[in-house]
Every structure is written in C-alpha cells, then in structure tokens.
Amino acid sequence: MSFASRATTEPGIADSARSQLNPLREGLLIERTPDPLVMVIFGASGDLTRRKLIPALYNLALERLLPPGFSVVGVARQDMTGRGFRERMRDAVNEFSRRRPIDDAVWSSFADGISYLRGDFTEGETYQRLDDHLATLEQERGTLGNRLFYLATPPDYYDDIVAFIGAHGLATTERETCWKRVIVEKPFGSDLETARALNRNVNNVFAEQDVFRIDHYLGKETVQNIIAFRFANGIFEPLWNRQYVDHVQITVAESLGVEGRGGYYDETGAMRDMVQNHLLQLLTLVAMEPPVELSADPVRDEKVKVLRAVRPIKPDLVRRFTVRAQYGAGYESGIPVPGYLDEERVASDSLSETFAALKLFIDNWRWAGVPFYLRTGKRMPKRVTEIAIQFKRAPHLLFSGNAADGMEPNVLTLGIQPDEGIALKFAVKVPGPMMSLRSVHMGFQYGASFNVQSPDAYERLLLDAMLGDGTLFTRRDEVEAAWDIVTQITDGWDRIEIDQLPSYESGSWGPVEADAFLKMEGRSWRQP
C-alpha cells in the first residue's frame, strides 16, 4: 500500500508475523503478494469492468503482483460464453490498459483464470450456480477459499446481491485462515437514511473490516501525497491552522457534461455525485490531525473527526452557505455544446444541480473560523482538481503605494489532476532601483521530477483490498458522517420552491451567484 505500515485485517496471520515468516521481504520495494483468491465481479458486462477493473487486474499481473491461481468470475445477465467474455476482456485491455500493447504470454496466463457466469442478480439460482462454480475453481486453482466480491452493478442491486451472497453462504468462512471480502462502488446510498440501510445490510453479511467502499479518488497517488506532504515536512504543519490560513479552496472541475449518463445524473446531482465523496474526502485529508500511525483505522479515525466537526448547514441556512446551478449551452474546447436541460434523458424541468459550491466551517481547535470553500461543476473550462491553501496577509505592510501593487497573499496549491504537483506563490522584489513587488510561483511537478508512470487508482485499490488493507477505503462511520453533512443541504434545497436553477454558460467557471458568494466576503475563486 501507499503508507509505511499496512493494517492487517486478515484472519490468522498478522503482518509482524508475516515478515518473520518471510524475512526475504526486507528491503524489497514490491508489495507482498496477496493470498490466492477468486474475485467475483457482479456487473461483468458493464463499463466499469471493461474500462477499469480488468485492465487494472491485467496491469497487476504484469507487475507480478497477482498470486498464482488468481481467478476472476464475471457475473452478468448478458448471454456470453467464457471464451466470449475473455475475448471481450482482452479487447478491453487492448483499449484501456495503460500498458500497451498487450503481452500475449502474461495475458494468456492471466486469462486462464477468467470465467463467466450468466445470471440474474435477483434470482437465488444464480448464486447456487456461483457456489458450485466457486467450489470447482477453488479445487482446481488452489485459491484456498479466499473470495473478493466486487459490486460493479447499478446501486439498485447492491442490497439483493449482498443478501443472496449471505443466504447462500458464499461469504461464510469455513477456516480461520481464509477470508471473504466485498468491494462496494459509490454511490453508497443516496442520503443518510439509505446509506445507513445499505451499511446495515452489508454488515449483516460481511464484517466491517471486510467491507471496502471504493472512492477511486483515494487511490490517486497525489491524493495520498497530501498526507506525505503534510506529515513528512516540518515546515508546513506549524502554519496549517487558523493562525495563518485565511481560507481553503477545493475545486473539482470537469470539462465534460453528463456524457450519456443523463438518467443517472438527473437522479443524483453534483452534491451527491461529487461532494459527498470526492470533495469531502479531500477536505478530510487537508484538515485532519496527524494520525497516531499510518494504517487503516488511525487514519480513518482522524478523517471521521473532521467530518463530525464540520458545522452542519441546516436546511434554513442553505441559501447563505451554498450555491447550485445548471450548465447552459456554450462551448467546450471551441465546440458548441447543449445545456443540461437539453441533454438526453434529462427532464426538461429538472432541478438537479451540475454545479455546487459551499462554504464549510470546521468547528475545532485548529480550524475555528477558517472557511473551506468547496466547488465542483460540469462543463467548466477545464478538467482540474486542486486544493489551494490561502494564507493570511503579512500583519504589517512595509511597502506602500506602487510597491505593494503586485502583492498577493501566499497560496500553497496542491494539484491533484491533471497537473500533479505542489506550488507556492510568494512575493519578490522586481529587480531595479525601485522597491516594486511581484508575486512569483515556485512549483514542483511530479511528472517533471519523477518521470515514472503512477499506477492507476484502481490498481492500487484492488491490490489493497486483496491484501486486506482498508486505509484508502471509506469506513461505515465516515460514509454516514459525510451523508449527514450532505443530506442536510439537499433537504434544505428541497424545501426551497423554485422553478429552475441558476444557469452558467458551458465553458465558464460557474454561475455569477458563485462569484458573488465569495465576493461579499472580499474573496474570489481561483481560476486554476
């Protein structure tokens, strides 16, 4: 995994015992190989499997990180043979893997373990056949009863699938040394109530330590680097508080529109689709206290504390603390694009937001009074994710008149994508006889300094789940705390009677209301 020490949730063997059992591992940079296992993908004919999961697994095979006997069972309703499924997955790897062209020998060895089972997720018979198939596989491929279930279906099926897995004993561990785990894709519910219900159902079948709720943002190398940057450098942490920080801006901007996902998006909106998970995850990493150690529960404990310290935006306060809007027609990279209400499968009177901005306060010792501005939107000028820490101005200005014209506050920017790096803005004297100041930008870029390809987020997260490390996954209380924040806002929005949302032109940085939102506080949004 990413961090120094790996939490162990595996039954039987703790990490310390493992290293004693395998002293050859000392000094090697390669991850421990997971135990042999079968990964069962529900929703195997879908886009996620094709674009992300199988290419990620193949890349892990290329990196020699999969155990011998590793097997994949794809489950979906579509009529397909095992051979047909393997061919389709090979095409997917050819199209979407970051490592191309495909390596025939490695693919062939990997594909030997891929099989397909046609079945309806809502029928018990599917799970009976799956049980038989898994028993055969475990015998033939020596996977020792270890199973990793992946819910890559639409969320409507989650409850049924988990319940059937439980009812058919597919998650029952016969031996202390084997394990059964489940990976759940977002969204984890659509509000606090549904999230709680889903969590209850999942925990009826799987122990919490065996549940891996995936938010692929946490698998990104640069997101993990937030922790490294904050806690490996002595110079920043003393400044990382209300004494020195004026405010924080977190931006997750997308240049694309709903891209054929109009039906899903119209039910969801930016607040549920992006803020509840990605933005609040970034917020927790920026604002959390140092964990006692870098392993799953201590890190997640600190993240949960941040979420619990976020001052709730009660329904009657949403107008003051939030802005929402929909994109109108405009241009994306010079090409005319339709407005949200003209997108396919979007209701013409839709009130789903494609842009959301909010101001949060974290009521704790460190952050009291510091506003955190979060913003996300579709059809913005570019795809960019960044966290900007804006520091307070110098307490006393020595420079007056023209000299201070070029002075701007110091800003520390953590770029998450696409420019992964860290930048600091500070003032310098312009060369010459006059005292004139200008802001300059000192930057560190990952791509420029370490010209190595980072693993895809799914590679990291799948491997972590196989190894039983939950550090980069969201825990039940974390998900519920995030939903608690978001649900109060969406409830507030629902109570406001309006016919339409404010609009912003596609290709712009959002509605004028969002600009006014910061302007009245003497601040402005960054244009990253």
Partner: protein, 379 residues
C-alpha cells in the same frame, strides 16, 4: 525520452579551460539562454528541480559514449546535475563542456537539468576532487556511477569516490566476478571509506529476489523459507555476480553460517549451517550459453510433513515461469514478465536509495566469505 516531451538544449559551445568559477559562470550563462528560449517557445519560465547530483566516471571515449547515452535516458527521469568525467590518456587536456536541457511533458511546465562534462588526463585525477566538491549540488544526495571495470584497491578509486555519498559499480565488468565482489567488499568495509555502495548486479537480480520472495508469501509455503534445504542456480557466465549475490542474500536473510565452499567441475558448491543446525546446500552451475543472465533458480524446502519445490525459470527473452509444488495441492504456475532492464533503469533504481542498503551489504558479506573459502581451498 518521453514521446510527448519536447526538448530544448543549450550548450556552452567551445570547450573551456577548467576551473570552478569558469564552469559556474558558464552554467549561469547557459541557463540565462535557455530560460529565454523556453519562455519564448512555451510562455513559461523553466522549472528546475534538483533531486541529486550524479557523478559519472568513464575511462576513454567508449565508456564516455555509454555514459552519455545512458544519461540521455536517465536524466529524463530524474532532473538533476550530472557531472561526467571522461578520463583520457596523458595527452588529454583538462577541459569542460556544459549543456542544459529543458523538456515540456504533455504541454506542461518545462523541467530542466544540466550536464557538466569534464575531460581530464588520467594522471591528473588528483586534481578532480577539488573540482567535484564545489560543483556538486548541496543539500541533495550525491552519487557516483563508475561505468567500467574498477580497481577497488587503487588510490585513484579511493580518491575519486571520496566526495560522494553512494557509489554504483558493475562488478560484472571485471574479468572475475569473484575477485571483483571481494575487492568491492574490502573497499566498502575499509575504515577510510565513508560512502555506501551498490552493484548493478544487485539491481539486475532484483526481479529474481522478488519472485523468490513472493513464492514464500503463499499460504502453503509461508514459513517454509526457514526450512530451505537445497538451492540450485543456473546462469550464463556473465551473471555469476548475480547468482552469488542471490545466494548471499538468502543466506544472510535466513541467518545461515557459511560452512564450506568449493569449486567443482560443474561450478561452485557451497554449504551452510542453518540457525536450526541443519545443512543447506547450494549449487551454482554456470552454463555455456550467453546473453540471458540468470537462467533458473530451484529451491527445495522441507519441514516435517510439509515440502515445497519452487522453480523459477527464464522463458524466452522477457518472461519467467514460476511454479510452486506442495504436497497434496495442485501445482501452481504463473508466467510473468521479466524483461532484462535497460542500463538507465538499473541505475535509476539504485538512485532511489541514497542511504546504506543493509540487505545488500549483508549479502555481500556472505559472498566475500564464499570467495575467501574458495581461495583458501584453491590455495
């Protein structure tokens, strides 16, 4: 070079007579030029990130060419200052050549690095440390890559390596890997040596070490590593150093004590005593083929009723097959990619570690012990 990168290069033109001031002022001038050019072409001020200084020692033009070609790839990965010292014959003039390079990846902000090339007659090596020390970047680690065969006992080697923190050598460049590894061990353990070291053969053996280690991660084999009874390694003659380092690595990790080492008609036979008092035997079998390096490693481990046979075999040029056989379980085999790493990748890997590598040092200790036993037997 990254296919998406554009490169701008400025060099100092004519060769200059060397002193530190002239080199640094030339560097400033070159950077001034390149900054202007980069800003004109990309609209952005070039970014310089220093991670390390790499000093490269090359004897003669052939090694210098190898060094340049490797650096060309390497500095793309790790922007830094590279100082290439080409040692020539006594007619060579001490002079310098400076280049600065910037590249813009995927249209992003350009990143830059610099190369200082110094040419010196070999008999004026004594003067070089006084040039090297002020030219190395401060506050970042300094490495030395010795391109060719090294005489580890020579004053020249000691003097040139004195200014860096970590040295990278290739013991397979020497005629005898045994002598070379032993000499390197003596050098690194000498009281006057203040740097740490590594060997490119250690880097070449990394994928084999990983595959062996992973074989003992398996639930059916974990713990059996302590019960290894026999190891057989087959290798091309040019990979003897790798084979020895792998044996040294296993023995040192498992706390084995060297018992005997003899040269046999088939290669080298070594026996160890395990901490439990059992014997572990090792056969190193050189092959007559060339070009592939290590060919196979077979390991037998057995404890009471449990036994495992692990075989890792090179398959073709860039694949390895790993099989694990345990009593009462299906044989498990996987095919993995195991490409021969490029020289720049090997060096890049070793540049990631800038402190002492105790695992390498302890492996080398065992190898030095084996060499001493072989010599004693031979004498």
């Amino acid at each position: 070079m990254n296919p998406a990168s554009r490169r701008i290069q400025i060099d100092s033109g004519e060769l200059r007579t060397v002193n530190v001031d002239s080199v640094t002022s030339e560097l400033s001038r070159v950077w001034g030029d390149i900054s202007r050019q980069v800003e004109e072409r990309t609209g952005q001020i070039p970014l310089r990130t220093s991670i390390l200084t790499l000093v490269v020692i090359a004897h003669g033009q052939a090694e210098a060419r190898t060094a340049r070609a490797t650096l060309d790839e390497l500095v793309e990965q790790m922007p830094s200052r590279a100082i290439v010292i080409e040692l020539g014959d006594s007619t060579t003039r001490l002079d310098a050549h400076i280049t600065a390079h910037c590249r813009a990846i995927d249209g992003g902000r350009p990143a830059c690095y610099e190369i200082i090339e110094l040419r010196s007659p070999a008999d004026r090596v004594g003067a070089l440390p006084s040039l090297l020390a002020p030219l190395e970047l401060f506050d970042v680690p300094s490495f030395m890559w010795w391109v060719g065969s090294a005489d580890f006992g020579s004053p020249r080697f000691r003097r040139l390596t004195a200014s860096v923190e970590r040295i990278i050598v290739d013991t397979s460049q020497a005629e005898s890997a045994l002598d070379s590894l032993s000499g390197y061990h003596t050098f690194l353990n000498h009281e006057d040596c203040h740097c740490t070291g590594t060997d490119l053969n250690w880097a070449r053996a990394t994928s084999w070490r990983e595959l062996i280690t992973q074989s003992f991660d398996h639930p059916l084999t974990i713990g059996l590593v302590w019960d290894i009874q026999r190891i057989e390694a087959a290798y091309d003659p040019n990979a003897e150093a790798q084979a020895l380092l792998i044996i040294g690595w296993i023995a040192s990790r498992l706390g084995w004590t060297l018992h005997a080492a003899i040269q046999t008609p088939d290669g080298i036979s070594v026996s160890f005593a395990t901490p439990g008092g059992d014997e572990a035997s090792v056969n190193l079998n050189p092959q007559t083929s060339v070009g592939v390096g290590l060919r196979s490693v077979r390991i037998l481990a057995s404890a009471r009723r449990n036994a495992v046979r692990i075989a890792i075999r090179r398959r073709g040029g860039d694949l390895a097959a790993v099989s694990i056989e345990t009593a009462g379980a299906a044989r498990q085999e996987r095919v993995v990619r195991d490409q021969e790493p490029r020289l720049c990748d090997l060096i890049g890997r070793e540049l990631l570690l800038h402190t002492r590598d105790p695992v390498f040092d302890e492996s080398l200790d065992v190898v030095a012990g084996i060499v001493a036993r072989l010599r004693a037997t031979h004498d």
